[in-house]
Structure formats: C-alpha cells, structure tokens
Symmetry: C2
Subunit: 427 residues, 2 copies
C-alpha cells in the first residue's frame, strides 16, 4: 500500500536541513520519494501543516505515567524513597496499564520512537505492539542481590531479547540501571550478553554529584573512567543524564562511541544541580538526544516541551541567547537522537529509504500562526506543543489521525490506567 | 441569567486553598455559590474536569503574536535591533490583527485576564471587547523625543483612559516603558495622570544588568532607588521582570506596595542572566505574578507553560527541588497575580462575590491522567498545557466552549493575522 502526504511544509532534517513545500510518498513502510505532485493509493492532505520526522525520546520509563504528581517538589532522596515504595508494589499488569497510557501520550505529542528502561519490559513491548509506536526497550539489570525482579535480571533480559528480537516495532536492549546497583561482574555480563544477542545497552550515568562522589570513594575512580577501565564503554551504549562531566570524560564518551540522552526537565525538577554540558559534548562530537525521563520527574512525555525547556535552560545557564539554537535542538529530537540509538540509517529524517515515521503538525492553530518557511523550525521549538500534532505515522501506518488513535480504544486505556493507579497508589 | 458548572473538581484558590468536588453557580457575571447540587437556568457538565480560576497574565504585548520566530537565539542587543525595525513599520491595523490573535491564543490556554503594554492600545481594547477576554491595557509612555507615537504619549494615554474608562472588560493603565526612555518629568507626569484618572501604572524595571548599570552611571543611583527618590513608586505600580534586584530594592518595592510580573521564559530566552529572586520577594511580602512577555521573546502566551518553566528554572538555579512548590506557583498565576493588578477583591479565586472568570480543564486527556484531589495542583503545574483547557468563562459569559471561540470567527482572526504578518514582515 502506498500513501501520499500532500501539500505540507516538510522539515526534512536531511544533511542540508531542507524545508520544502513538497509531498512525501510512503511505500511498504518506507519513504519512497519527496517531491512535487506525488500520488499514492491513499493520500492525506497536509495543507496548512508541517510534516516532520517523528520525534525520538531517548530516555524514559513509560510505565511511570501512573505516578504523575506523587513526588513533586522533593529533593532526590525523598523522591526516591517515595517512588521506590510504590515501585515495590507494582505488578506486571500495572506496568502494562502505565505503558499503554505512556505510548498514547507520546503518540499524541508526535513521538514515534522511545527508549524505555524498566522491568517487565515484555509488558511494555505488548503496549508498543498494541498502540503501534516504535520502542527501544531496555530490560533493567541490577545485581542479583539488589533487584526486586524474580530470578536473575540478566537471564530475564536474555529471555526478553529472544522473545522480541523479531518484532517489527520493538528493539530489545539491556539496561544496567547504574553503577550504584551494578557490579563489574553484572556490567560485563550485560555487555557480553549484548554482544551475543547483538543488541544495544543503555544506562543512567553521572546524573548526580552524589553518584559520582560515592563511586569515587568506593573505587578510586569516577564512573566513566571506571567503566572505561573495565572495558564496558562501547558503541552499543547510550547513557542517560550525564550532567556531571569533565571535558576528559566527554572525550572518553566520544572515543568509545557512547551517545547521550539529555533530560533537562528531569534534571531541573530534581535539582540535580548544574546542567549537562551539551554544547561541549556536541563540540567534541558526542551524539546527544533528548529524553523526558519518567512521569514522576517531568511530568509529561511531550518532546516539544522538552525541546523548548532545553533551549531556555542552556541560554539561561550560560547567559548567552545564542547557545543551542532552534535547529540544533530540533536535531537533538530527530536525527541526532536517531544516532544515539544507532538508528540513523532508519530513523530521524525524511529521506528516501528511511522508515516512514512522521508527525503532521497543524500550523493553523492560533499558537502556531503565522508560520512560514523562514520561521518553521523556530515555531516548532518555541511555540509548538504536542497538542499541535494532528496525525502520526509509524512504519508507514497511520497510527493517529485527527488526534484519534487508530490502533486501540483510548477510553479503555485511560480507564485501565485510572484503575491501576488507584490500586497502586492506594487511593 | 444563571449558569451552573456541575460536578467538577474545583481548585478554589480561597484562603485555605480548598480543592472541592462541587458545583459553581454563576449569576449576573459573578460567582453566587460553591456547593453541592446547585441549579442554574443553564448548566455545563464539568465531570472529569477541573474548574480553576481563570489564569492571569501579568505582562505582555499581545500585538507581537505576528512576530513569532523573527528574532530567536539572539542576544538582547540584536533582538532589539530586529524587533524595533519591525515595530517602526507597524500600523494600528497590524496591532489590532496581532492583538486579536493574542486574545484568542490566551483564551485557548485558560487565561481570562492579561496586562498589556503597547501603543495603539485602543486597538488592543477593541480586540478585548470583541473576543471577550479581560484586559488591563497600558498605554506605553516614553519621552516625547524618543517615541514613534504621533503626538505626546501622555496625552494619548489620557485620551485612551477617557475612551475606555467605562468599558466592562477593559481597565486602562499608563505604562512608562522604562527608565532608559522616560525622564523624571515623564514619569512624574505619568504618576500624576494615574492619580487624576484613578488608574494603574505598569513599567519594565531592572530587567538587565545593562539597564541597571547605565542608569547608575547616568544618575548615581540604580533605577529602583532613583524611582523611590523622585517619589514615583506607589501602590498603583506593577513592574515587569525585576531580575536584577538587591534585598534592599526588594524591601523598597514592598514598602511602596509595588507588585512584580515575573517573566521567566522571556528572561531565559533573552539570556538576561541570573533569575529574578522570587523566593526572596515572596518572603518579604512583595506580590509576584507571572507574565509571558511578548511572542518574540517566549514565543507563546500559555501561562500553564510559564508556570512549569518557572518551577523548573528556580529549582535548577538554586539546586533545591523544594523551592517554589506547585501550590505557590499556581498562586502566582491566580490570586497573587490578581494582587499584582490590585484586583484581588474581584479576580484570582473562585469565591462567592468575585467575578465569574473561570477555566474548565479536561482531566481525562492522556497527559492529565490520572488526576485526583491529591495531585490536582501538581498536575496543573507539571503535566498540563493550555491545550487541556476545554471551556472558558469571563465575567459570567461562556467565551470558549469545547475549544471553540463563541465570540468571534477564529478562522477570520487567523486569516487577518497571516495577512498583516506577511505585510509587516515583508514576506
């Protein structure tokens, strides 16, 4: 089946960052052509709309949508006490219900790919397949004596990978939670498993001063140097947060091909202090994408809002309005994010041969008016929210149309989420 | 005519900050009762919704909606060069078209009252009366030799006040632009006129280091001390920005009853440096509301987004997640904002006798699920955007219903705005 997206203003995110008044033709789940007067068996009129690459969320915990507003305005220690207490009660069915709501929330805000880290990722995978979003799903790995998972996390991860390796929308990953709960043995086991199964790795890294300091006290090295020393760092790895970095640590990330998921809203809300040195990472050639983190520390999964906050936070931090301009940050939500996932050949731009993952944004909404070629990227950054997304296409399939989910019953998702939240939160 | 808002979760913002499952009865443009089983001649079902006081935007330039995305990622000097060049070409009809779009954008995001500063405020007043929003409209005043207005700004302001003094939705103000374009004579003339006509004053104040430094070089005093010295500060005045303040300046504001419009997004985007000392202002008893500023430096007029950014910016700046909690910031968009306008007896909370200015927020949207009594304020702060607003009532009149404007033709507003923007920006 072929589908033509007609008459939109296309933010291609190709190497020239062309913004074109053009049609986009989709065939067999991939982009077949970008140009004038393209015809498909079906078509969608995108007059008055932007057509953009589906946004990529590089770090989150979709199941935590059930925990909106349970741990706000708390410093990290109290935040973790509150959220871990709830985590300990969470069942597989709670994870599924939360992930369904999270996938819906992400699709409604133009995200077509997300990277997740949690346990019961098989339940998240079911939510991915049911809703039609694309998921890079990392099974959380901790030392056997530190986890609440049944059985060994590495064995659970191995099983999860086998079960979903051939899924079209799911890419399984192994996700060591962080150096504070993963020994050298666990980390190298995760790396070995990733090589054997040919999958990616994802972990939290140098999010807080406490994490860095504690690890240095224990091992004599800061986490990144220590991970480099044990031979853990490699191209399969993407790391979330990376707030507290030295320039030498940035160079170690670059040397080892490690990508970074920058989560500015979460870092600000938890007051991790400082702000990740994104301009320096980009200058040194480290790929940096954006992540929302989970709904307890954000509390929304809208990458448009993450982009705007990212821009504002860095400008305010540096006293320099020219830092990280609109195009650079739009890159971090699209093509650079795809590089963080190692998926730049498949995702992150509207170019012939790539997966047809697209969002169609209504430019006639009052908050987006007036938009023209010259301010499109600016308006996507500074004026747009996820609520301006009209349609979403994943893998060539129309998943959202006129803000209605085509794959599942939205009311049912909301009802299930409410039911599970009430039980989980003991309301 | 009486109207009952039925079955909502009411964030009253009364002195106890009660959140009640209750009906709200409106009679003759005012809130007549809050309670169970209230009946009106007409009713709106707010099941699954929050009912909140209409949000108050304490500082902006509504006509600048036409200038979205024209001056992004620029430091203040280049920003002013670019925007002033466009300002100089702007006609009264451009101001009207931009203000119509701005009023629409604000209503769509739950704002029922805004404070504006511009010239041609009579055109903004027409937009207020046409759309049905409430406007505190400040005629911009500069020295006669520094303005592009025809005639004397103070005389123009006086005429504007006379023309709109009896309007139901418009409250005219006098708005000296700032100490950098207003002499002592102009400022005292503005103050005298405000006394004579019994209206408020509004001005930009201590937004940048440059402004403070330049004034100190010129007069020997920083702006606030100088304004205090010439007898300009008084209870009629609200001041926008106030980023660069000492504790003694905060105490001078308090002593003189001056309220502050905090514009964190604009300050961050223009990289004014630092962040306004809001916790100290609140501690000293200065009333602080939120403002979006104009669409060239934000670039949206959604107070929900301003609230979230305010929370995140202060937490990140102080390395303390407990600074300015959700309730405090919601106050800054409602009851505290009303105090900044000197309108706390009329606006800012849902209490018997106050003006019926309300927004109804859809809590069943995926990004707002699950919401219950215990996390309502949190979710309004951290998960909500203006797009979750379903209905808006101003002065007892339903202005927005199911996100459709009842007072004007939205398509016509957008079309006019586009036409004027293209001419103004020479596209």
């Amino acid at each position: 089946m072929s589908l033509a997206i007609k008459n939109g203003l296309v933010a291609t995110q190709n190497s020239k960052r062309d913004v074109l008044r053009a049609d986009v033709l989709i065939e067999d789940g991939r982009i077949a052509a970008i140009g004038k007067s393209l015809k498909g068996e079906k078509s969608i009129d995108a007059s008055g709309c932007a057509v953009i690459p589906g946004l990529v969320n590089c770090h989150g915990h979709a199941a935590m949508t059930l925990m909106k507003g349970v741990a706000d305005d708390l410093n990290l220690e109290q935040f973790l006490d509150r959220t871990f207490a709830i985590d300990a009660r969470r069942t597989r069915a709670d994870v599924k219900a939360g992930a369904m709501l999270g996938c819906l929330e992400m699709l409604l805000s133009g995200t077509t790919t997300f990277l997740d880290m949690y346990y019961h990722e098989d339940a998240v995978a079911e939510a991915v397949e049911a809703t039609g979003i694309r998921g890079y799903l990392g099974w959380a790995v901790l030392d056997d004596d530190k986890t609440t998972q049944k059985g060994s996390p590495l064995k659970n991860a191995d099983k999860f990978i086998k079960d979903f390796k051939s899924s079209n929308l799911v890419r399984p990953l192994i996700a060591p939670q962080g150096v504070y709960v993963c020994s050298e043995e666990t980390l190298l086991g995760a790396r070995e498993l990733a090589e054997k199964d040919d999958v990616g790795l994802h972990m939290h890294l140098q999010e807080t001063r406490h994490e860095v300091h504690e690890h240095e006290m224990k091992t004599g090295k800061r986490p990144i140097a220590w991970l480099d020393g044990i031979g853990f760092l490699n191209e399969r790895l993407s790391a979330a947060h990376c707030v507290w970095l030295t320039i030498n640590e940035i160079r170690l990330l670059k040397k080892n091909g490690v990508g970074v998921a920058h989560c500015p809203v979460s870092n600000a809300k938890l007051a991790s202090g400082g702000i990740a040195p994104v301009p320096e990472m980009r200058r040194e050639g480290v790929h940096v994408g954006l992540g929302t983190d989970g709904s307890a520390s954000n509390n929304c999964l809208d990458i448009f809002q993450e982009m705007k906050f990212c821009a504002l936070a860095h400008k305010a931090h540096r006293w320099d309005a020219t830092v990280l301009n609109a195009q650079e940050i739009f890159d971090m939500a699209t093509i650079e994010a795809a590089r963080v996932l190692g998926a730049e050949k498949e995702l992150g731009s509207i170019e012939k041969g790539k997966r047809a993952d697209l969002a169609i944004v209504d430019l006639t909404a009052p908050n987006m008016s007036p938009t023209y070629e010259g301010n499109l990227i600016s308006n996507l950054l500074y004026s747009c929210t996820g609520a301006n997304v009209r349609d979403v296409i994943v893998d060539g399939k129309v998943v959202l149309r006129a803000r209605k989910l085509k794959t599942c019953d939205e009311a049912q998702i909301a009802k299930e989420a409410e039911k599970h939240a009430r039980k989980l939160l003991e309301l």
